[in-house]
Structures are given as structure tokens and as C-alpha cells.
């Protein structure tokens, strides 16, 4: 697309949308949000960028093949599930560590559940971006 306004706006929007997608991902456990929504917003971010630049630039910004990104996400999700077994629980049972917990504060919660959600994020993001980029390439 040749519109200068769009080009400038898209660059800004791209960064904001990416940050927003991560925000929605991390927010999901306690507020509306989550891995699926984050991944979809991330995909939209890349599509916005793609419409202002061309495919090569989008792939360069992405740095890795989107298909690999998607499979990476699936693998992380699987690892998150197997960690449950490693800790002696069932498969996909969430394991929680509260870093720096004291009597008053709860501390920072880190869990396999978050890892799983991150896996979902990457899978959805990778799959949709791969679809759109592939279509552009052939048409």
C-alpha cells in the first residue's frame, strides 16, 4: 500500500499491537484475555505491518519462519504438560512456584499454566501468520 499516512501509522500500530498482545496474554488468568486472544491480536499486528510493507519485510521482522514459531508453541505447551508429570502430578496438572513469597505478600507466581498459555499464544500466532503470508506469496 502506497499511502504514506498508512505506512507511518502502521509502524506505530505494529509495535503497540504486539505489546498489547503480550499484555492480553499475561492478563488472561485474572481478567478477560488469555493465550488465544493474545495470539490473534499478534497475528493482526503482523497483518497490519504486512499491508504497509511487503512480504519480505514482514518475514524479516518476524525473523523465524512462522511455521516454526507455531510448532515451537506446540512444543512449549507439551513441555508444560509434561512438567506436571516430572513433579509427580498428573499430565497437564499445573505446578505453581511463588517467587519471593512472604507472610504478607503472595509473591510472583510462576507456573506451568503460564507456560502453557504462552505455548498457545505462539501456536495461534504462528499458524495464522503462516497462512496469511503463504497466501500472499502465491497470489
Amino acid at each position: 500500500m502506497n499511502s504514506l499516512i498508512y505506512k507511518v501509522g502502521a509502524n506505530l500500530l505494529f509495535g503497540i499491537l504486539l505489546v498489547f498482545s503480550v499484555f492480553m496474554l499475561l492478563r488472561g488468568h485474572n481478567e478477560p484475555g488469555g493465550g488465544f486472544i493474545g495470539g490473534l491480536i499478534g497475528a493482526v499486528a503482523f497483518i497490519v505491518y504486512k499491508m504497509s510493507e511487503d512480504i519480505a519485510a514482514t518475514r524479516a521482522v518476524l525473523r523465524v519462519n512462522p511455521e516454526y514459531l507455531a510448532v515451537f508453541g506446540l512444543t512449549i505447551a507439551l513441555i508444560a504438560g509434561l512438567l506436571g508429570v516430572a513433579f509427580g502430578d498428573g499430565v497437564f496438572a499445573g505446578q505453581w512456584i511463588f517467587v519471593g513469597a512472604t507472610a504478607e505478600t503472595k509473591g510472583w507466581p510462576i507456573s506451568t499454566v503460564l507456560l502453557f498459555d504462552v505455548g498457545v499464544y505462539f501456536t495461534v500466532l504462528g499458524a495464522i501468520v503462516a497462512l496469511v503470508l503463504e497466501m500472499e506469496r502465491h497470489l
Binding site: H29, E31, G34, V71, G81, V113, D117, T123, A127
Partner: protein, 741 residues
């Protein structure tokens, strides 16, 4: 025969002797451990205990008889085959199939669970298919194998149905429990169905009328296979099932008439057809039919004496039939033909072999001192003493037995008759050993009745074990002896008339079930093709219409069969909902009537947003956000693809048929939903999730917690699906690039 390498031939010998030793050891083990058998042996391996299906095994008197027959005769079969098939290109394969069959057959007779029995039953059918079709390059062998498989397979399905019904009716799938149970199955309302289905299974497997036509064709198999499967063991599987369930079901109304009729008809039919054969193997096949018919008829009677007669007859038949088949095979191998005239002057050419053959024929005819005689005696004795047996069974079996005498005489006559071309022919020892031993066994068992007696007696129920006379050659002059004499006289008369009967029978064109078989198969295939072409027309509208019409009809059937209509209350909907509904309807209408693609997609977008608004209205923020995002992406995808897709075709008016069908399905779904609303909802899961989401899963967004914590495994599956769909879609496009010319 192709020449095999020296190493291959050595391996053949190894396989040969290994098989014989293995089989003989099994037999020895059986003899060692199964005599005496005070308590039945059991062993169980849990398989699906929740359904009552286990791999359970159980050895009692009846199984013992079969085990000894299978392993004992099997050892000689292996011995024979090693020599008979020496140098054959598929030698190893043959032995593999034969071993598999033996295991399957053993499994049938020691199975204690109805389903285990069925599994091994089907295995015997399968291995029989492989063995009959062993010379797979011959079209006749292939046809015979397929015919056998289809007939016994169809019977197997009936058997399965019968076994399952029996298991449910008796409350247990364990055979020993069913037999121990004092609740008589014969009073159960399902007993008629069970008897018919079980009988169908047994009758197809044991080649009884009208399913007898596959057995003569199975003679396409190599001779050792015929000797093992189609005389001594596999066809007896049906008899085994009848014998096994005889205590439970023999009093049932349908049991006796069904089995007696089939048995006697088969026996007589087999006799008539045997008389017109010139090929020895075919004649033996038809006499097997006769024997199986006799066994079926005997098992139709509930008396213990007749049951004992059946078992004795079974043992006798296995012994002499295996001998005869192996003898024919040895003769064929040495001389290259199976016609009767080759028997000439066997007496002078190889005396031991001829003696064995004659002894087997003695047993076939039922003359003393062979065990066949004891079998026939018990047969007459039992039938005469029992109350229920009608006279016509006795007459029918008498005629059949007489025919057997005639056929035996015809063969014996040729063996002993001197011929001009009496060249000494070398017969392989490995091939003759079997017939000789088995024939002698047939005499020994009869003379030394003390060996055979416990074998049979233990197979009866404890209460009736004293009801039969001890086995022996001489029981004094009684009615049974008289009938035996009558049989022999009649048989001799038939033997004298045999040449004339043979010529007469060969002149009449017979009706053959076999010829109709090909027509039946062709008709079946034609029916399947026509039906498929009618329904699967490769036109999207027609295929889809078929599916939807069926759905609507099913739905109507369900709705109509409901007596009580659910009550539903009309809750007034807020104005917002009405507006959203209007919006969705407008969008749908737009996508339906639009001629331009952009307008249609816009309509879809409106519908999507309307659905998102519904989600927001009813408290589903996550879902609403996802819906909006997916809607956006959908539009993006279509927008890019539009360049490569054609424009929409012009709509020429409304397609009324399709409209009616669609509205019907829509109405069906609405009615289903109304029905759902009227029934109370089980909220236990939801309450559980609501209560434990924070305390145990540390999350306040319950929906997300369900997705990534409580039901994480399901979500994992779902992202795998998304990934797979994406990969598939990408593959579609990539592939296209490369192939375009």
C-alpha cells in the same frame, strides 16, 4: 518346483523337525498333565473386566478330547507336510500358517469366555482362508478360499450375535459360569434367537445343509491341509460349539428339530454326492460331510447316551479320516493322481501301507474291531434307548452308514485286487508313518477300551457319567447289533449296485448351490454399486440433500415419538436482544441475496459482529473478543483471496426444494433447542469450577482457568488441530505452485 538353494533346503528340514517335535511335545504334555482330570484346569488373563470379557481358558473332559486330537493328528500332519511340500517355494509360509491354525484351534477348544471363543473361531476361519488359497496363483484355489471365508465369516457374525445374547441373558460371559448356572437358559425369552444364531454359526462352519457347498471346494488346498482342517479339526469347531453348549441348550424347543433336520439331510445328501465322485479327495470330502451330518443329528438329542455316542464317533472319524486323507496324499505324491484306479494292487506293492488303508476303511465302514464300529454301535444304542428320537433319524442315519460301508468297500476292493502293472512304488516313510500309526490307533483304542473309556466318560456331565455303558466291542446280542448287521447288509447291496448308481447319478444334471454362489456374489456387488451411484452422485447439492433429508426424517421420527411435550416459559427479551437479532437477520439476508462478493462478505461480517454483541450481552467477554478478532481475520483472508476467486453466479430465483429442506433442518434445530431449554441443566461442573478457580487454581478468570488449567489437555488437542489445519492449508497452496505447467 523351483530349485531352492542348499541353505534354504537345510532350513526346510529344520523347520520340519522343529514343528514335529513341538507338536509332539504338546501332545505328550497333554497326555501327562490331563490324565487324570479330576478338576477342570483354569487360567485367566484380564482383558476388559468392566465388560466381563477376559482371556480365560478352561480344560475339561470335552476340551481334552479335542486337544489330544489336534496335537496328536497335528504332529503327523507336520511330519507328512515336511515331505509332501519339500522344495516348495512357500514352504516356510505353509508351516507358519499351519502353526497359526493349530494355535487358533486350540484356543477355540479351551476358551472359557464367550468372546475369547469367538476371537479364536474367527482366527481359524482366517487361517483356513490362507491355507485353502495356498496355491494362490490358481484361480480355483482363490475362489474356494474366498467362498469358505465368506460362508464361515457370515456364520461367525451370527455366532457373535448369539454369543453376546447368551452372555447378556445368562448375566456372565464366562462359559464355565454359564454351564454351572442352575438357571436354565431354556426358559429365557431370548433362547430361540440364541439357538438359531448359534446353530447358524455352527452349521456354516461344519458345512451342514444348506451351507455345505464350500467344503468340497476347500479340497483345492494341499492334502495335509484337507486332512487337518477339513476333516479332523476346523470343521469340527462347529460340532465343538454344539457339544459345549449342549448341556444348557439341548432342551430348548428349536434345538432338536433344527439340528436333526440339518444333520440328517446333510448326511444323506453327502452320501448321494459321494457316490458319484471319481476323485478320491472329493469322495473323502463328501464322506466328511456325511460324518458331520451324523454328528449334528446326534447332538440334537438331549440324552447323555447319544452325546457319548457323538463324542466317540467324533474321535473315530478324526482318526480314520486323517488316515485316509494322508494316504491319498502319499499316493498322489508318489504316483501323481488321485483317481480310484490308482489304488489297484496296493496290496502287493506296499503291504504295510495297504494294511493301514484297509484298517481305516474298516473304521469308516463301522466294522469290528475298529473304533468306528464302537461309534456306530453307541449311535444305534443311544438313539434306540432315548425317548425323544424319532424313527426317521434312525432310518436316515442307517442309510447314511450303509452308504459309508459301500464306499469303503469300493476302495478296499480296489486295493486288494491284483493288477497287471504291479510295479513296486517307493512311498516316503515320513508320509506313510502318519496313516499307519493313526490306523493302528483306531484299532487299539477299540480293543483296549479301558483307554478310551475315561476319555469319553469325563466329557459328560457328572450326573450322567454312569448312565452309559462302558465302551467295548461286545455288548451282547441286542437291537443295536441287529441294526449294525442290517447296515452292513444294506451297504454291501449298495456296493454291488455302486457302478450302476454311479452312472445314473452322473447322467442327471444336478442342482448345485455352488453355481449360484457366483451369481450371488455378482448380484451383491451390483447392488452395492447401484446404491452407491444413486446416493453418491459427485454433485454437491444432491449428496448434501440426501444427508439433510435423512436428518430431517430422523428428527421427525424422534419428535413424533415423544409423548410429553416439554413446557417452556416465555421470558420477555430485552430490547437490546431484539435489536441484535434484527441486525443478524439483516446481515444474513444481505449475504443471501447479494450479487457482489464484497456485499456478501459484508453481510457475513455483520452477522459476526451481531454474534459478538450477543456474547457481550450475556456476559462472555473472552468469547466476544475472540469472535471479533476472528471475524476480522476472516475478512482479511477472504479479501486477499478474492483476487483469485470467480464472481458469484447469478441467482435465478429461489430454489424451493432447497429452501424447504433448509428451513426444515433449521426448524428441527430450533425445536431441539426449545426442548433443551425445558429440561433442567446440571450445573455441578460449573459450580465446581467456580468454587475452585481461585483457591486451587489461582485464577480469577474462570473461563481462562478452565481452558489452560482444568481442561488443558483438551486445549492442547485444539491447538494441535489449528496447527494441522494451517499446515494442510499451506501444503495445498505450495503444492499448486510446483505443479502448474
Amino acid at each position: 518346483m523351483s530349485t531352492k538353494s542348499k541353505r534354504a533346503l537345510v532350513r526346510e528340514v529344520e523347520i520340519h523337525w522343529l514343528s514335529v517335535v513341538w507338536c509332539a511335545s504338546l501332545f505328550a504334555l497333554a497326555v501327562l498333565f490331563l490324565f487324570p482330570l479330576s478338576e477342570p484346569l483354569r487360567w485367566t488373563l484380564d482383558w476388559l473386566p468392566a465388560l466381563g470379557i477376559n482371556l480365560s481358558f478352561y480344560i475339561d473332559g470335552l476340551s481334552r478330547i479335542f486337544i489330544l486330537l489336534i496335537t496328536g493328528i497335528g504332529a503327523f500332519i507336520f511330519l507328512f507336510s515336511g515331505n509332501y511340500l519339500r522344495g516348495h517355494v512357500h514352504y516356510e509360509r505353509f508351516f507358519l500358517y499351519l502353526h497359526l491354525f493349530m494355535i487358533a484351534m486350540l484356543g477355540v477348544v479351551v476358551a472359557d469366555n464367550l468372546i475369547t471363543l469367538f476371537v479364536f473361531w474367527e482366527l481359524t476361519s482366517l487361517t483356513s482362508y490362507l491355507l485353502i488359497g495356498f496355491s494362490h496363483r490358481e484361480p480355483r484355489a482363490r475362489r474356494a478360499a474366498l467362498q469358505g471365508l465368506l460362508v464361515t465369516g457370515a456364520g461367525g457374525l451370527c455366532l457373535l450375535a448369539g454369543l453376546i445374547l447368551m452372555g447378556i441373558a445368562a448375566g456372565s460371559f464366562s462359559i464355565s459360569e454359564i454351564l454351572d448356572d442352575q438357571i436354565a437358559l431354556q426358559d429365557h425369552p431370548w433362547v430361540h434367537a440364541i439357538v438359531i444364531l448359534l446353530a447358524l454359526g455352527a452349521l456354516t462352519k461344519s458345512a451342514q445343509f444348506p451351507f455345505h457347498f464350500w467344503l468340497p471346494n476347500a479340497m483345492e488346498a494341499p492334502t495335509p491341509v484337507s486332512a487337518f482342517l477339513h476333516s479332523a479339526t476346523m470343521v469340527k469347531a462347529g460340532i465343538y460349539v454344539l457339544a459345549r453348549f449342549h448341556p444348557e441348550l439341548s432342551e430348548a424347543d428349536l434345538w432338536m428339530p433344527l439340528l436333526a433336520t440339518a444333520g440328517v439331510i446333510t448326511a444323506l445328501l453327502g452320501g448321494v454326492l459321494a457316490m458319484k465322485q471319481r476323485d478320491m479327495k472329493q469322495m473323502l470330502a463328501y464322506t466328511t460331510l456325511m460324518a458331520l451330518g451324523t454328528l449334528t443329528a446326534l447332538l440334537s438329542q438331549p440324552d447323555a447316551a447319544v452325546y457319548a455316542a457323538a463324542l466317540t464317533f467324533l474321535v473315530a472319524h478324526a482318526l480314520y479320516k486323517a488316515t485316509l486323507f494322508l494316504s491319498v496324499g502319499a499316493l498322489d505324491h508318489a504316483l501323481g493322481a488321485k483317481k480310484f484306479r490308482n489304488l489297484s494292487s496296493l496290496w502287493s506293492r506296499h503291504r504295510p501301507f495297504a494294511v493301514a488303508w484297509l484298517l481305516a476303511l474298516l473304521s469308516l465302514a463301522g466294522l469290528p474291531p475298529a473304533i468306528g464300529f464302537i461309534g456306530k454301535e453307541l449311535l444305534y444304542d443311544g438313539l434306540l434307548r432315548s425317548d425323544g428320537a424319532s424313527l426317521w433319524i434312525v432310518i436316515g442315519l442307517l442309510i447314511a452308514n450303509a452308504t459309508m460301508v459301500a464306499l469303503a468297500f469300493a476302495q478296499a476292493h480296489r486295493i486288494v485286487r491284483p493288477s497287471r502293472s504291479a510295479i513296486a512304488t517307493p512311498f516316503a516313510t515320513a508320509e506313510i508313518a502318519g496313516p499307519v500309526v493313526l490306523a493302528i490307533l483306531g484299532i487299539v483304542l477299540a480293543v483296549m477300551a479301558g483307554v478310551a473309556d475315561p476319555l469319553i466318560r469325563d466329557a459328560l456331565e457328572p450326573t450322567s457319567q454312569n448312565a452309559i455303558l462302558p465302551l467295548g466291542l461286545w455288548h451282547g446280542i441286542n437291537a443295536a447289533l441287529g441294526l449294525s448287521v442290517l447296515t452292513v447288509l444294506l451297504g454291501l447291496a449298495l456296493a454291488v449296485l455302486h457302478p450302476r448308481i454311479y452312472r445314473a447319478l452322473n447322467r442327471i444334471p444336478g442342482f448345485s448351490f455352488d453355481r449360484s454362489w457366483d451369481r450371488l456374489l455378482k448380484g451383491f456387488v451390483w447392488f452395492a454399486e447401484t446404491l452407491t451411484n444413486r446416493i453418491q452422485t459427485h454433485r454437491l447439492s444432491t449428496d448434501l440433500s440426501w444427508i439433510l433429508t435423512t436428518l430431517v426424517l430422523l428428527g421427525i421420527a424422534v419428535v413424533v415419538s415423544h409423548d410429553a411435550w416439554p413446557e417452556f416459559q416465555w421470558q420477555s427479551a430485552p430490547l437490546k436482544l431484539w435489536l441484535i437479532t434484527a441486525l443478524i437477520c439483516a446481515g444474513t439476508l444481505l449475504s443471501l441475496v447479494a450479487q457482489s462478493r464484497i456485499a456478501a462478505i459484508t453481510g457475513l461480517g455483520v452477522v459476526g459482529i451481531g454474534v459478538a454483541l450477543i456474547f457481550i450481552l450475556f456476559g462472555a467477554p473472552d468469547v466476544a473478543i475472540t469472535q471479533l478478532l476472528v471475524e476480522t481475520l476472516l475478512v482479511v483472508l477472504i479479501a486477499v483471496a478474492l483476487l483469485n476467486l470467480p464472481s458469484l453466479p447469478k441467482q435465478r430465483g429461489i430454489r424451493f426444494g432447497h429452501a424447504v429442506l433448509s428451513l426444515a433442518v433449521g426448524l428441527l434445530i430450533s425445536v431441539t433447542l426449545w426442548g433443551i431449554f425445558a429440561t433442567p441443566l446440571d450445573r455441578s461442573l460449573t459450580t465446581y469450577f467456580e468454587q475452585t478457580s481461585w483457591p486451587e487454581a489461582f485464577g480469577r478468570n474462570i473461563v481462562n482457568v478452565i481452558l489452560v488449567d482444568f481442561r488443558a489437555l483438551d486445549t492442547f488437542g485444539e491447538i494441535a488441530v489449528v496447527l494441522t489445519a494451517a499446515i494442510g492449508a499451506i501444503a495445498l497452496l505450495r503444492d499448486m505452485r510446483v505443479r502448474r505447467r
